[in-house]
């Protein structure tokens, strides 16, 4: 017989390799010559930090001591924008960036000043003491690409990733010290200690049971931009609105409004200076340029910027430039990851269509502009601590652009511009913006197959998202804030996978109203960020201790753990305690953030802040139930519970005491932290490994999630339902219940690194399963349909998201038939109620080769968990996990 039986398990889980040639991805395209040059320039560029913005911000802030805080902040931000050195790079059609470096960013000491200090600095040591940088200590940063992980010559490495010119370091330290005891981090820390249970919180952070505090690390993001006001009114137009509103509010009760409008006005002045400075720079470049064509391009840029500093856009090109300006402006006011442009193809469509109808824009030019946009988004860096940037984000900025979904009146929202956006993501295959396709039965087949074509290039986007499941979640979540069926259709993904509420805004163009979607909620993923479920289970088994450090994290639970039910009960208690203290302390941090470092530009953009005069930290947004509980390692928890239940309590293959000893001795293997290999495929045994061979086999043989095995799937379902329900017992800063969120991002690497071996047979220090419903690498041995069945064993709409990552060998979906069948498979999973699925279309052997020879693979991208990243910029913990994932292949 010639059917080629799958052999994936034998070379993933069991470590031997098939032979034959490495298969490359099927589809390769190239961007325009202009953009290819930009991309090569980008590849040569390192992540660079500057101190311009923080210097001027801090200087202004100090000058204005005693001013109303939000006004003081607006002035400080304005000073920062005014003093940013303008920079325009050759060949750009869209201009402006976070700083004058191509891949630039800067620390924001007003949020947290300690983390980027040199290790020997006293401030850093203080942070270490409080367990605040434990995640940094256990994170591995990708060593290649644009990461500056070591100081070179006159460039110092800070926060594990960014290069800073040596002469700027004293300035940075000087500025940072000025924020000591004044930053959101420090002030928040002072007040969070008032929470009873703060002691446990500190121990939880030290044990890396929780990855990070969101209030001072990434207080904004995981949300969707709303570009309506600038597109409709232009900057001067918004200033006029502020003026009007100020007159109406001055002297009347609710005085905070006037400070808000004043702040917005001030900020916009700062942006105008920033834009005009770039216009001047463009003129200067034009005067120096000898090539007539380039000269006229610079002059066009100058003209466009001068226009946009005041007016609403005239053309698609104008509109795209203005969108970009506001995107960067928001990113420059806070440390943000996951600021998503949302359904940009639908926002910009009216402008694009008008230009196309007028005959002043071609498809080729549109594509080139979209490619330029991709480069701008790809150049973005997020400056945060190493634990956050490496351990959570893998250096990614999560600017998720969504396609498809429904219009206000419930019809397919896909359009021709979105087809071009998909095309540009293939011709210019860079990590940002990442794409998500909001799948709905109403979408046309042609559009879906274009999405498949893009998925097949292998970079992991678009992610396939279930529109109806998201709508069900949002309708339920925001019902108390008046969410309607019509409005829920305006939703989009914010960040990697955070379902976010949106609104339809009435864009008037030549007297015709176009309802464009945009975000209308603040950061939808703040609160309790990444609880490591296997680590909580470890604490349960060892009665509250962190076995890595030997420290007590939780009070002893007092159970003898003589039954499975007792284990489950103790787990629920520890988990609940964790959520409780982290909710309370994070509420305080976010409150302090809103007082010291409120969002001004982003608030202005979000409906209905400009109407009500309230910023987003004062519930100015239309929707405010946005705090959540994020978890990591759920599948390892469930597999471990299944193993405990079966091996210890039902079949009594070994006692709990024996199991604990096996875990402590890592089943006779050398710790992954020593070997530097973070998946099960490559582990080294110790002298006495034979002692634990049988126990380890029994643990590995216990039922594993992802095989349509009801024994373990029922445990999964019970956990899911309990988790989503219990989140509602806690209330956010905005006095709304919390909800559950299930994305691992990259946390499964560092959080796995600090966790002992687990009862499912996973070895100590190795990376957890990614995502939320992805099987642990190599354990899904019954094919994709069994995996789909397990993954859909509960209602995905009960949570903000679910996440399924799959690795498929390029040969499986080759050709036209392959494309059609691939779509059928995705559609079938979504129809069964799956919320999200994404793919790596890659030969695992290529990834291994890339690990050995990174220089050959500068442009190789892979999908991790909700995002696409350059292979060389990923930490080894994550690289090993991606290689080990079960690959669906035929040989």
């Amino acid at each position: 017989m010639e059917s080629k039986k799958i052999e994936c398990d034998t070379y993933n889980y069991y470590g031997s390799k098939p032979e034959g040639e490495i298969q490359t991805r099927e589809i390769h395209k190239s961007p325009s010559a202009r953009v290819e040059k930009s991309r090569q320039l980008y590849f040569e560029t390192k992540s660079s930090a500057s101190v311009e913005f923080p210097y001027w911000y801090t200087r202004k802030w100090e000058e204005l001591e005693g001013e109303i805080p939000i006004v003081r902040r607006a002035e400080a931000l304005k000073a920062g924008f005014e003093h940013l050195t303008p920079a325009i790079f050759p060949g750009e059609l869209l201009v402006l960036g976070k700083s004058h470096y191509l891949r630039g960013s800067y620390p924001m000491p007003w949020l947290s000043e300690a983390f980027f200090m040199a290790h020997e600095d006293r401030l850093y040591k203080d942070a270490l003491e409080a367990g605040k940088v434990s995640a940094d200590e256990v994170t591995t940063m990708g060593q290649g690409g644009g990461n500056v992980t070591k100081s070179i010559g006159n460039v110092l490495s800070i926060a594990g990733k960014f290069g800073l010119r040596k002469e700027e370091m004293p300035i940075l330290l000087d500025v940072a010290k000025k924020w000591h005891n004044k930053s959101v981090d420090d002030v928040g820390h002072k007040y969070e200690q008032l929470v009873p249970g703060y002691h446990e919180k500190e121990e939880i952070m030290r044990a890396v049971i929780c990855m990070f505090d969101s209030g001072y690390t990434l207080p904004q993001g995981r949300e969707v931009m709303n570009y309506y006001y600038p597109l409709q009114y232009g900057i001067e137009g918004i200033k006029n609105i502020c003026d009007e509103k100020l007159k109406q509010a001055a002297g009347y009760p609710g005085m905070d409004r006037i400070y808000f409008y004043k702040s917005v006005y001030t900020m916009l002045e700062g942006l105008q200076s920033w834009i005009k400075n770039h216009a001047e720079e463009a003129k200067l470049m034009a005067s120096l340029e000898e090539d007539e064509n380039d000269k006229s391009e610079y002059l066009e840029i100058a003209e466009r910027l001068e226009w946009l500093a005041i007016n609403p856009p005239r053309t698609f090109h104008d509109a795209l430039q203005l969108v970009w300006i506001f995107h960067v402006a928001v990113l420059n006011e806070d440390a943000i990851s996951g600021l998503s442009p949302g359904r940009l193809g639908q926002v910009l469509y009216p402008f694009w269509k008008r230009d196309m109808d007028k005959g002043i824009l071609s498809r080729e030019r549109s594509l080139e502009l979209l490619e330029c946009m991709r480069m701008k988004f790809t150049e973005l860096d997020c400056f945060a601590s190493m634990g956050v940037v490496g351990g959570v984000l893998s250096g990614n900025t999560f600017n998720n652009l969504c396609l498809g979904g429904l219009t206000k009146d419930g019809e397919s929202a896909a359009n021709e511009l979105e087809m071009l956006i998909l095309e540009s993501a293939m011709t210019c295959d860079t990590p940002q913006p990442t794409l998500s396709l909001l799948y709905d039965e109403k979408l046309p087949e042609e559009f879906l197959l274009k999405g498949i074509e893009c998925t097949k290039i292998g970079t992991g986007y678009p992610a396939w998202i279930n529109n109806r499941v998201a709508m069900e979640f949002l309708l339920n979540n925001f019902k108390n804030e008046g969410m309607t069926l019509e409005e829920v259709r305006a939703w989009s993904i914010g960040g990697c996978l955070e379902t976010s509420a949106g609104s339809w805004m009435p864009l008037d163009l030549d007297g015709v109203t176009h309802y464009i979607p945009g975000g209308s909620a603040p950061a939808t993923s703040v609160g309790v960020h990444f609880i490591s479920l296997p680590k909580v289970l470890e604490a349960v088994l060892f009665d509250g201790l962190d076995k890595r450090t030997g420290r007590r994290v939780y009070p002893a639970h007092g159970y003898n753990l003589e039954s499975y039910e007792e284990v489950w009960k103790a787990f629920q208690e520890y988990f609940s305690l964790t959520v409780e203290v982290l909710t309370l302390t994070n509420n305080i941090q976010h409150d302090v953030w809103g007082k010291i470092s409120p969002s001004i530009i982003n608030s202005m953009l979000k409906p209905d802040c400009l109407e009500t005069g309230k910023d987003i930290s004062n519930k100015g947004s239309r929707y405010n139930r946005t705090f959540n509980v994020e978890i990591c390692g759920g599948v390892n928890l469930v597999n471990s519970l299944a193993s405990l239940k079966k091996n210890v309590f039902e079949e009594k293959n070994f006692s709990l005491a024996t199991l604990k000893q096996a875990l402590e001795e890592n089943f006779g293997y050398i710790s992954a932290l020593e070997t530097g290999s973070y998946s099960l495929t490559e582990q080294k045994q110790t002298q006495n490994f034979q002692t634990w061979l049988k126990t380890h086999k029994q643990c590995l043989d216990a039922p594993k999630f992802g095989n349509d095995n009801k024994y373990v799937d029922n445990i999964f379902k019970e956990w899911q339902e309990w988790f989503s329900g219990m989140c509602e017992n806690y209330r956010s800063l905005y006095d709304e219940p919390l909800y559950s969120c299930q994305i691992s991002v990259s946390t499964h690497g560092p959080m796995g690194a600090v966790t002992l071996a687990t009862p499912d047979g996973r070895l100590g220090g190795t990376t957890f399963a990614d995502g939320s419903v992805s099987a642990y690498p190599g354990t899904d041995q019954n094919g994709p349909y069994a995996l789909f069945s397990s993954a859909t064993c509960y209602n995905h709409a009960s949570s903000q998201n679910s996440q399924l990552n799959m690795k498929i060998h390029p040969s499986v979906i080759k050709g036209r038939e392959g494309a059609r069948k691939f779509l059928e498979m995705i559609r079938a999973y979504l129809r069964k109620g799956g919320f999200h699925v994404q793919f790596n279309i890659v030969d695992s052997r290529m990834l291994k080769d890339a690990q050995q020879n990174p220089d050959k693979y500068r442009g190789l991208m892979v999908r991790v968990a909700g995002f696409t990243q350059y292979w060389v910029e990923l930490g080894k913990q994550i690289q090993d996990e991606v290689i080990a994932r079960t690959e669906y292949a035929e040989i």
Binding site: E2, S3, K4, K5, Y785, K814
Partner: protein
Amino acid sequence: MEVNQQISGTIFDIQGFSVHDGPGARSLIFLKGCSLNCFWCCNPEGISKENIPLFYASRCIGCGNCETFCPNNAIQFIAEKPVIDRTICEKCHDHSCLDNCYTDALRMSGRTISVDELFSIIQRDRQFWGSEGGITLTGGEPLLQIDFAHNILKKCYESYIHTAIETCGNVPWKNFELVIDHLDWIFFDLKQIDPKQHETGTGTSNTNIINNVRKLNETFNGKLIFRLPFIPGFNSSRENLAGIASLILETKWKEINLLPLHHLGRNKYQLLGLEFKADKFPIPSPEELQTAKEIFEEFGLTCFIGQDTPF
């Protein structure tokens, strides 16, 4: 014949999302046992009709448990590695050797499954096939376990599931007779037109196979695609291809799918302790395949190479 749900079969895999063996995305069911013994077979673990152990040498730590626990003395340790007499294993239903191999160096290929259990897996899978799709029985030779194959095909067919088999053709005609009413699609392998050469390559003459082709032409009204495993130096001659084309021209079907020889099954021969004879035969070049395709086209047939098919 009534569908008997107590009937069981021996399979060695179920593979979901299979995209090359029939229309749509399919579930492939690999039945054990084959009446041929082709030297290039890429699923050699499917040739024996019994469950047999595969040995992953790289995982073996030489602990000797398998030898100790084997009740039939089928395993002997030579140079710290087990040497397995699989003719003994084929008759054994005691799995102590596997249970006590803690590193999973020994793994069983094959398991017994009832029609009911298999059907419930198919019912699960059909939700994910999409608008086309179905099942394809393969192996091994799927029509050797004829009761099992018949029952599962009938049950699927009556449940509106698209059914296909991939057969070497070397089974008694009555086996075909039993299943053709419940089949939508047949992949029928032709390897060599010359009976002697056929016997050299597969261990058996092709007389029965050719007879079955002719009988199917008279009785089977579904779709049939011929498949030719293309092995340079064994069946690549113009003479052989012309002979096969002539046979096909006798039938109402006009499509042939060339399956180029590959060496990817080599690893499995190691797991079974067998010699991989196909190593001596080269993988065909695109030019050779194109030439073969043109020969079939000269005869007015439609020829697809490898996975480049319209289904």
